[in-house]
Assembly symmetry: C2
Homo-oligomer: 505 residues x 2
């Protein structure tokens, strides 16, 4: 019933995943009772529409030969995934609870277990495995050993013939990053041209794809907006499985889950996927599973604020940065320019057990003085400071596209004689993990005059600016207007930062 | 392609929505190019599987008669929704951009507009409506007036025959709540039996359904866990549209969107929908649309913390409270007991242009002294206090199931001579909206010794407890264990509150 299953199964059909065999336990019971109350579609017909081969085993309770035959048939179909619909009785064998929803969510209970054992003719004690069952299954031990030996021999042969390719495959299987891979990351100076971080992201992806054989991914039908195409590769399709640009279609939830599967398949596979940042709402369950399952998926989320402009409030994230900062085991990164985007990718690639969400701008941003790959690794760092003795008059904190605004405000304030520190807080999680000494060197407790600026919800910023500071942000939905105009209307400006700073120091 | 469309369309088929006619613009182009790259399923077959009547108009560009015939046929099919698949050329008429993705996301541009006008034989100036077109469409004015007069006459007749039913229908159409409806809300004393707020929620829903004719809703296949069944009503089904228990199936995203539609249809319709709180991740996009569209949907979200126990981290919300507190125009309510649950429902029913999310416990909670419906309306209020002069030694702040813990800790601290205030912060948004005087009366600025306790992310709590206070919460994923054990393991205990309070005062 879940929409995600249709998204994923539609793609499986499109890709012709002939090795995929899905068993559908057609028992007609869900938690609320008979599926008749909410689910009367023809699953068979739907899956045929999705391009699957469908087999129906009518007696799934005891029709062992039919099940075997279905599996054999499914294996023989090489160009389509197969759905084996097996009609069963839930709780089969339980004399009083079979075919009822009470079997779905709770245990049978001792009495009914006893009755079920009797009914099924199972005379053994709990957890006893009869000898003939054990023997029957034990044959798989030697079988498996033989399969493994065969594979190892084949791989050894392959390694001899194709040492380079074998090394690459091995690195993907064991998850060892190639030595010096991070040298591929592009670097920028303040003189490098202004650019949107979504474009800088594409430079990083393309640079990294050359050195990371396991990097692959794509977008949910927004590749040309998210800037996620790897230019040296073609599309991953049914007949071109060696390519690395995955076309997910408008299927965000399925996309995230597929990337989880890729990440968890082999530690050296590094999947990335992309959509507009606001559409993380469509795939949040998959992103949470990345975090919970320690799947190091890279989420390339562009159009990360009201700065996207005319598409308006349906497309403008507000609460999304806060919502990911609150999620455990995930890195929310909002780089401000080229060096920070490279830094964010370095962090994302290194964190194979923690997914990363990169929030990237649609609009052009200047390359800032003082940003660095090393700074990003610490989550928060000073990009400019004219104070001495760790005692600035005021600290301005920005992230992403608003770091530029903080830097501009600092320039003005300094002209008026203020000692101003500008801090980039690109990743709260990474900053939290730094030593107290480091954190104090960036945000000294004695300096309570702090102004933050971020084009998103101010929720959570009290932690950074404290009760005496001021958080500039947006606590309402966005609006449709060109980026420049909307920033001004919403007060996300250097003037607002300057005014707030002057009130505080 | 989006999973939600399959969820909603599966339900439309199940309910046999014969009045629903969907036009599917089969133009084979999406933002990333030809749909062939990601979408090759048979939409027709899928929709037939979903129980829809499917019509294919092969020439949607100029086949006007075929389109008319299809609509006529669709209207004649009364027991199924109809999908009219119309194969078209995107940008039809544009000589250079027709049938390409460049028409999807950007304007044609002046030159191509000119060429298209020429190609289509459209000689008029921009925004000019030729007289014959105007006349052709203007006939709908008198037609519409006649339809309206007919409806009004019919309603007047109905009103005469069935004054009570007509008044009810009218109240739903205009959205006027029946006078004194709030008297139906159940109240509790500290002697009322302990109960889970999910059960108390069901008492409220059943009490309110008697007085609110527009209240209807259900759960995504968790009705018996979310406790959302209205006992005096049957199931809303194909042949029982007068009933009010909606069976959404395991389709959270579709459920939320359907409730948005119900809420926006008539101001007097008050839809509620339910699942486990963690599964708001599956429907977050729909919930955000509620907030953005000012649709007063009531989200009944049970199993709201690690307190749900054995189902473990996949089912245990952590960051969810914070994620909704950061969302604009939505009320996140976490009631602690019976009176607060009634208060939350009062707020939710009154807020017809702001959705409410009710986080409710699976586990039993005692009825607390000092909680009230009126208190909930203010978002935050004092439930007990042995201090004088608005100067407690320490303020303990709790929400939901942890308010009990705060109250217990206060009892202990008071035994040791401390002046302790206990504050229930049931809704941050409502509290934020109170006057500064009121807020100061609850959380006086001079009292920096504050301890909060909530079985969820501490993200955002700095705002409440300040830099000198302590937020007790959970900033990691949960674990599978009985509620009592897991609370202890995670340090969500009265002992932890007492220890923190003693450090501060």
């Amino acid at each position: 019933m879940e929409g995600i299953s249709n998204e994923a199964c539609s793609l499986a059909g499109h890709w012709g995943l002939g090795k995929l065999i899905a068993f559908y336990d057609d028992n007609h019971i869900s938690i609320d009772g008979d599926t008749e109350i909410a689910f009367t579609e023809s699953v068979d017909t739907r899956f045929e529409g999705l391009g699957w081969h469908v087999i129906w085993v009518k007696n799934g309770n005891t029709g062992y030969d039919d099940i075997r035959a279905a599996i054999k048939e499914a294996k023989a179909v090489k160009d389509k995934p197969t759905l084996i619909k097996i009609t069963t009785t839930i709780g089969f064998g339980s004399p009083n609870k079979a075919n009822s929803y009470s079997v779905h969510g709770s245990a049978l209970g001792a009495k009914e277990v006893e009755a079920t054992r009797k009914n099924l003719g199972w005379p053994y004690e709990p957890f006893h495995v009869p000898e003939d069952v054990k023997n029957h299954w034990s044959r798989h031990v030697s079988e498996g050993a033989a399969f493994e030996a065969e594979w190892n021999a084949k791989f050894a042969e392959y390694e001899k013939k194709y040492p380079e390719e074998a090394a690459e495959l091995k690195s993907i299987i064991i998850g060892e990053l190639p030595a010096g891979w991070e040298k591929a990351l592009p670097t920028y100076t303040a003189e490098s041209p202004a650019d949107a971080t979504r474009n800088l992201s594409q430079q990083n992806l393309n640079a990294l794809a050359k050195v990371l054989p396991g990097l692959l991914g794509g977008s949910a039908d927004l590749a040309s907006s998210n800037m996620t195409l790897l230019k040296m590769f073609g599309d991953f399709q049914r007949n071109t499985p060696e390519e690395r640009n995955v076309r997910f279609g408008v299927r965000e939830h399925g996309m995230g889950s597929i990337c989880n599967g890729i990440a968890l398949h082999s530690p050296g596979l590094i999947p990335y996927c992309a959509t507009f940042f606001v559409f993380t709402d469509y795939m949040r369950a998959a992103i949470r599973i990345s975090a919970l399952s320690e799947a190091g998926v890279i989420y390339v989320m562009t159009h990360d604020s009201i700065g996207l402009g005319e598409d308006g409030p349906t497309h403008q994230p507000i609460e999304h940065l806060a919502s990911f900062r609150a999620m455990p085991n995930i890195l929310m990164l909002r780089p401000a320019d080229g060096n920070e985007t490279a830094g964010a990718y370095k962090v994302a690639v290194l964190n194979r057990k923690r997914p990363s969400v990169l929030a990237l701008s649609r609009q052009k941003l200047p390359q800032l003085l003082g940003t660095s790959i090393e700074g990003v690794a610490k989550g928060g760092y000073t990009i400019s400071d004219n104070s001495t003795g760790n005692k600035p008059d005021v600290i301005l904190v920005g992230t992403g596209s608003e770091l530029e605004i903080a830097a501009k405000a600092a320039d003005e304030l300094r002209k008026e004689g203020k000692a101003v520190r500008v801090v980039s807080l690109v990743s709260w999680e990474l900053f939290d993990e730094q030593s107290d000494v480091y954190k104090e060197s960036i945000l000294p407790a004695s300096v309570t005059a702090r102004v933050s600026i971020e084009a998103g919800s101010t929720f959570g910023w009290e932690k950074i600016v404290g009760p005496k500071g001021k958080a500039i942000g947006i606590d309402r939905f966005g609006a449709s207007a060109p980026a420049g105009k909307i920033y001004k209307e919403f007060g996300i400006t250097a003037e607002a930062v300057i005014a707030a700073a002057k009130e505080l120091c």
